[in-house]
Structure formats: structure tokens, C-alpha cells
Subunit: 330 residues, 2 copies
């Protein structure tokens, strides 16, 4: 295993130190492992807090900033943040209008964010949670009851973040977040597994021509193993899975996401095929992102996430955002 790290035990801390040096707009509390806006909470604004295991960068800390998250709490690699950490993030993000937790549907995250919400209530901070479960690949898995939360997390954070920034009250921010999740589906394909720093070995083994269909973002295996083929066919597999579950139509927001070690030129190729697929079903790419946004360490492969837009969601997507990983229009 060759990784650009100092030691397996210090990866998360060292990465946070790097974020602190690179992004003056962030306040990085290395001790409590909370990344928040340097400007602090805004009075009367709903706070948006997310978190989860590390290894998915830029998710979540890279989405902290104006128009998106107020705070993120990174756990160890692929390990949920602890409740105390979430509470620190939430109390720091509360501007008096309550806090929305954006939680990916993984058992550990769900439990710890629930505990944190209870603790927050005791401290007088009103908390609501949205559970993101967009991955159509598996119904239940080693890490989940129900669907996993993957690429749509970014959509939820951006769109609910814009609602919160615009002054929407907590029930309204929650409604928007749930709507984004309800209108989003994802499917991922891996050409290689990822290797965690602690284990030093790939989480599963793929042969020279094998691929894994329907992977999650924690190195867990997917729906089924298959053989390598061209980008167009792989996109058809992914998009058929999405389309079977939620027929695509009208205006769509599309994320073609690299899993961490996927060259951008390959993601461009994939995006071209996804756009073609959507056109073939009478749907339009109205907004899009191409790049590594919800990654899985050094996994090779891609996921595609489609959100069926309506006027409100489009307006909120277009609203200004200023974070390390997403930035436009302010």
C-alpha cells in the first residue's frame, strides 16, 4: 500500500490540518474534529450539519460554507462520528432557528446522529434529521437497513443549504431536503476496490477483467460481480437501474461522480453517455456536476446520481454557494 500519509493513525487529523491551511473560510477544530464556517452561525438561520466517516472527500467538510453546510464532523475512515462530536458541531451551528442533520443511511451514522439529536434537545437545540437513501443498488447491506445514502447527499446539502441561507424555517428546510432525496437515485460501478490505511489491503479483490456493480462508498461489495465492458454499456447498466426505480423525465440534475482514483477524462466520457441515455428517454440534463465529490478513498469507478428537478429545486440549486468544493454565483 502506497499512500500519501504520515501514518494510518494520523490520516484524519493530518488531513484536517491541511484543510485548515488551505481554506481560511473554514474553522477547523482539530481536537473535536468539527469543521465549521469561520464566520460562525448566523442568527435566525437554520443550521445545517452533516458528517460521516472520512474517506469520502470532499464530502462533507468540503461543503461547509455560505449556501451549504454550517458544520461537518468527520469520523475516522469509514467510521461514523461519535455523538459528542455531532453535538459540538450542532450547538456551534445553531443560530437560534434549529439545526437540520443530513444523515446518510448507514446504521452507525443513523444511531449516532439520533443520539446526538437527543442530546441536543436536552441542551435546548431543536434538531430535525433528513435521511439520505438514494442508492438503488441494494435494499439492505452489511452497513444498512434499507437503501444506502451516496451521491444525493451532495444534492440535499446544496439545496437544503440554499433554503436555509434564504431564511426558510426548520420545517421548510426539512421538507426541501426530503423532497430532494425523494427525487434522487444513484448507482455505482467499481473497477477496483479501495484500500483503507489501517488494513493496507483492498476491501475486495477484482480480477483483470472483473468489475463490481452497485457498489457503496465504504468499500463494501455491490449487487453483483460482472465483466468489464465499454463506457456506454456500463452507463446503460447504471442508468437502467436508476430508470427502473424512478423513470427519468423532464429537467434533471446529474452528478457523474468519480470514486476517488478515476481520471477526469474518463468521467467526461461517462458523462457523455449519461447525457445520451437521458436524451433517449426524453429527459434533459438541466444542471450537472462531473468530478470526484462523494468518493471512496482510492476506489476506481464512478457513480451516477439523477435528481428530477422542479422549479423550486432548480432555483435553490442555482443559488450562490461558496465552499471549498462547490463555488458559484455569489
Amino acid at each position: 500500500m502506497k499512500k500519501l500519509i504520515n501514518s494510518a493513525g494520523s490520516v484524519v487529523t493530518d488531513a484536517l490540518r491541511g484543510m485548515a491551511a488551505a481554506y481560511p473560510g473554514l474553522r477547523v477544530d482539530e481536537e473535536n474534529r468539527v469543521v465549521s464556517r469561520a464566520s460562525g452561525p448566523r442568527a435566525g438561520k437554520v443550521g445545517l450539519v452533516s458528517g460521516g466517516g472520512s474517506g469520502h472527500e470532499p464530502l462533507h467538510a468540503g461543503f461547509v460554507g455560505y449556501g451549504m453546510l454550517d458544520a461537518a464532523c468527520p469520523g475516522e475512515i469509514f467510521t461514523s462520528p461519535v455523538p459528542g462530536q455531532v453535538v459540538t458541531a450542532a450547538t456551534g451551528a445553531d443560530g437560534g432557528a434549529g439545526v437540520l442533520f443530513v444523515v446518510k443511511n448507514y446504521t452507525g451514522d443513523v444511531l449516532n446522529f439520533e443520539l446526538a439529536a437527543d442530546l441536543c434537545a436536552e441542551e435546548g437545540v431543536e434538531v430535525r434529521s433528513v435521511l439520505v437513501d438514494d442508492d438503488v443498488a441494494v435494499r439492505d447491506s452489511l452497513h444498512t437497513a434499507g437503501r444506502r445514502g451516496t451521491g444525493a447527499t451532495l444534492f440535499v446539502e446544496k439545496i437544503a443549504g440554499a433554503a436555509a441561507e434564504g431564511g426558510a424555517p426548520l420545517p421548510e428546510v426539512l421538507r426541501v431536503a426530503e423532497e430532494v432525496n425523494a427525487r434522487s437515485r444513484s448507482f455505482g460501478i467499481a473497477l477496483s476496490a479501495c484500500t483503507t490505511p489501517a488494513s493496507g489491503r483492498p476491501t475486495f479483490e477484482l480480477g483483470e477483467t472483473e468489475i463490481e456493480l452497485g457498489i457503496g462508498i465504504h468499500g463494501e461489495a455491490g449487487r453483483t460481480r460482472s465483466t468489464m465492458r465499454g463506457a456506454r454499456e456500463l452507463v446503460a447498466v447504471a442508468m437502467d437501474a436508476v430508470h427502473d426505480d424512478m423513470p427519468v423525465s423532464g429537467d434533471t440534475l446529474v452528478l457523474v461522480n468519480g470514486m476517488g482514483a478515476t481520471p477526469l477524462i474518463e468521467l467526461y466520457v461517462v458523462f457523455g453517455e449519461v447525457a445520451e441515455y437521458l436524451r433517449g428517454r426524453g429527459a434533459r440534463v438541466t444542471r450537472s456536476l462531473v468530478g470526484g465529490y462523494v468518493t471512496s478513498l482510492d476506489m476506481r469507478g464512478f457513480s451516477v446520481t439523477v435528481c428530477l428537478l422542479n422549479e423550486e429545486l432548480l432555483r435553490l440549486w442555482d443559488a450562490p454557494v461558496e465552499t471549498p468544493a462547490l463555488r458559484w454565483g455569489r
Copy 2:
């Protein structure tokens, strides 16, 4: 070789098709392989044109847009664009104030851009060229006489692009571009080679604990082979090479660049060490970028580029930019 492509021969075309679908702000001429601003040239503004082999995405086409390039011409993988292609880009980008070519110092690029400049002169388009040669690793190489052009290309394109957008005349845009190059140095380290779609094999082989120091961006081997070590020590190797050549001090603009298959969490770790190194020499990280910007297909590793800022360059760096890969402040 597992890659998300349709065929080795169609990669560049398919990727351009994807860019066209993803970025409505770009005009993608697939036939002539020219990517330009959808808005066309602006009368009286100096046009900025760059190009080079594909495989370095988002460089260069991802930097086409307001405040940066007017057009880019991607060649085949790691292969210079042909002169006719460059001429098409240049004549399309000319707003009557002449065109600056941003050329990375590789023999093929230098030749073809020179030929293109001659052809443009015949067509009445005034052209100047800036040669980027920031890589301190090797003096001459298989592909270069003198130093190679790598990460600083992005700095030159952004800063000269801002000068052009602000209405500076051609000699002034050239002066700024040359100043950025003169004040910038880079060094890269690979944990693995890259594999071109056409060959299907890594461009060089590294053992389990081997790394390559001083790599370029075309899969060529570097200055020397060495053994893997921690991020802090690797950064010291890279930064010592930069610092020996151009002592770091004062305000710096720093790019910690992933080579194409490097997870972002590792780049954060590297960035933390680079910032620490600079602090130790009395220099400051005044502006920075962390991510895959000047890549080498699926190579693993990083490069670091340092530019010694002055007031003018900082102002131009901060100026608004709106391209697929860099976007802020408009």
C-alpha cells in the same frame, strides 16, 4: 487495463462530447477539436489560447471561460495538437487585439504552436507566445529541451487571463504571463505510473515500495527512483527541490495537485505538510488550490507548484473566473 472508455481510439472525441453535454458555457467543436467560450470572442480583448496533449484534464479545456482561456485545443493523449487546430482556435478567439498562446515546454507543443503562430500571422492575427517551464526536476528530457511545463500552466492561464479580461493589451498580457512563469516552480512525485489507453500498459513499472521522484506529466520517468516514505518526507523532497532553485519567501500561491488517481484526503495531508514547510522558511500560503488540476491520466502521486506573489499577481489571481474547473467571485 480497465478504463471507463468506449475504445482507445475514441477517448478524446467521447470526452469532448461529454464536456459539451456538461458545460453549456463552452462551445465544443468536435470536428476541429477546439473548445471555446460559447459567448465567442470579445471585441478589443486579447485572446488567450492554450492546448496540448489530452490526458491532463481539466487542463486545458476545463479552463476555458470568463477570466481565463478563450479557447483550448486538445491533441490526442499526450500528443501535441496539430498546427491547423491551433490556428482554428486562435482565429476564433481573436477579438482584434491579438492572441497569446500559452505553451507548455514540450518539443512537440513548441514546434506546433510556432508553426501555428506563423500561419496566424499570414492570416493577419497577431500572436505572442509564453513558454511555461516551471518543473525543476529535470533540465532536459526525452520530450523537452530545458525545463518542462507543468503546474504553473494553470497559474499563467488564470493570471494572464485576468489581465486580458481587464483589457490589457497583448504586450502587457505577455509580460504578466512571463512574470508568473518566472516566479513559479514545480516538482512532482509518482507512486505509480500512468497507463495510456493505446498501450494498455504502465509507462514505467514501480515495485511495491518504489516511487519516482521528479516525474513529468506524460508518464515519463523522473529524476530518480526512490523508496516510499511518509508524506512529510516526500513533501520535504519536493519542496527542497523548489526552494533550492527559487528560495521561497513572502506571499505564495500554492497548488497541491493530484496526478489523476490521487484521493483528495491524501492531497489534504500533503497540503498540510507543504504549508508547514513554507512556514518554516518564513513564507506564507496566501492563496492555494488543492485537487487534480494538471493530471497525467491515472497516475498516482502529486506535484507541488509555488508562485511567489506580488501585489499585481495576487490581484489578478483574485479576479473573477468562471470556467468548468475554476470558478469564483463573479
